[in-house]
Symmetry: C2
Subunit: 139 residues, 2 copies
């Protein structure tokens, strides 16, 4: 099985739903980083059957808020000096900007190209996000 | 440094120019594979300074011709039973279909959407490829 050595210093983003790693790679702008990044797709997992993993080396200061929106089951370990120094617990972010688009064809964001796509969490229990402009729920 | 364990059976696509792994991932349609795939970006390399590596597990029958067009310096090891059973030498492919687009705005492929983008190798020494429809060279 493909395995990646543990990082000495960095982030391990684990338990990503199989096939979602590339999406996360994009949202976290990992392509713009100079540091070493490893993506492993379709790793066997007891919990999930299959999963993806991302490891980022030497960069532990990253805005990971968006991951809570994409998949709150993702786990994140922050590693320094070969030791896990933090486990980040993901939460549903209050606001999500330019991650998903409003599907209402009459929404201003569907017409004007330069407006940010902005959703707000309106129901934490049901995990409902609504477009701040037209109030359409994101499914 | 991020390292990935060697594969028992699979392909190791090495010495990829740093930053090019995602392009190759796309051209080889690796996103459509069910098997385990690892991509490591910006690995330190004596030869290249930095490089990318892709490892594909359990799948050794893949059309890799396009890699010769993208970067003939890429090396490919085919592994079975923990042993390198083949080293694939890349060559400039004679024909390249739907990999790059013709930049001539008057070319039929720029106008009609359903036509294949097809280039042929016209000068091996200079590595020149020309559009089969309008003869424009690809730079």
């Amino acid at each position: 099985m493909l395995k990646i050595d543990s990082v000495e210093k960095g982030l391990v983003i684990d338990h990503i739903q199989a096939g979602k790693a590339m999406e996360i790679y994009k949202y976290l702008n990992l392509d713009k980083l100079d540091c070493s990044v490893a993506i492993i797709k379709n790793v066997k997992s007891k919990k999930l059957g299959k999963k993806d993993i991302i490891k980022v080396e030497n960069n532990i200061n990253m805005d990971l808020t968006v991951l809570g929106f994409i998949d709150p089951n993702i786990t994140i370990n922050v590693i320094d000096n070969d030791t896990i120094i933090d486990k980040i617990k993901l939460e549903l972010p209050y606001e999500v900007i330019n991650v998903v688009k409003c599907k209402n064809p009459r929404c201003i964001t569907s017409i004007e190209q330069e407006i940010q796509h902005k959703f707000k969490l309106t129901d934490k229990e049901k995990k409902t996000y609504r477009c701040v402009y037209c109030d359409t729920a994101y499914e």
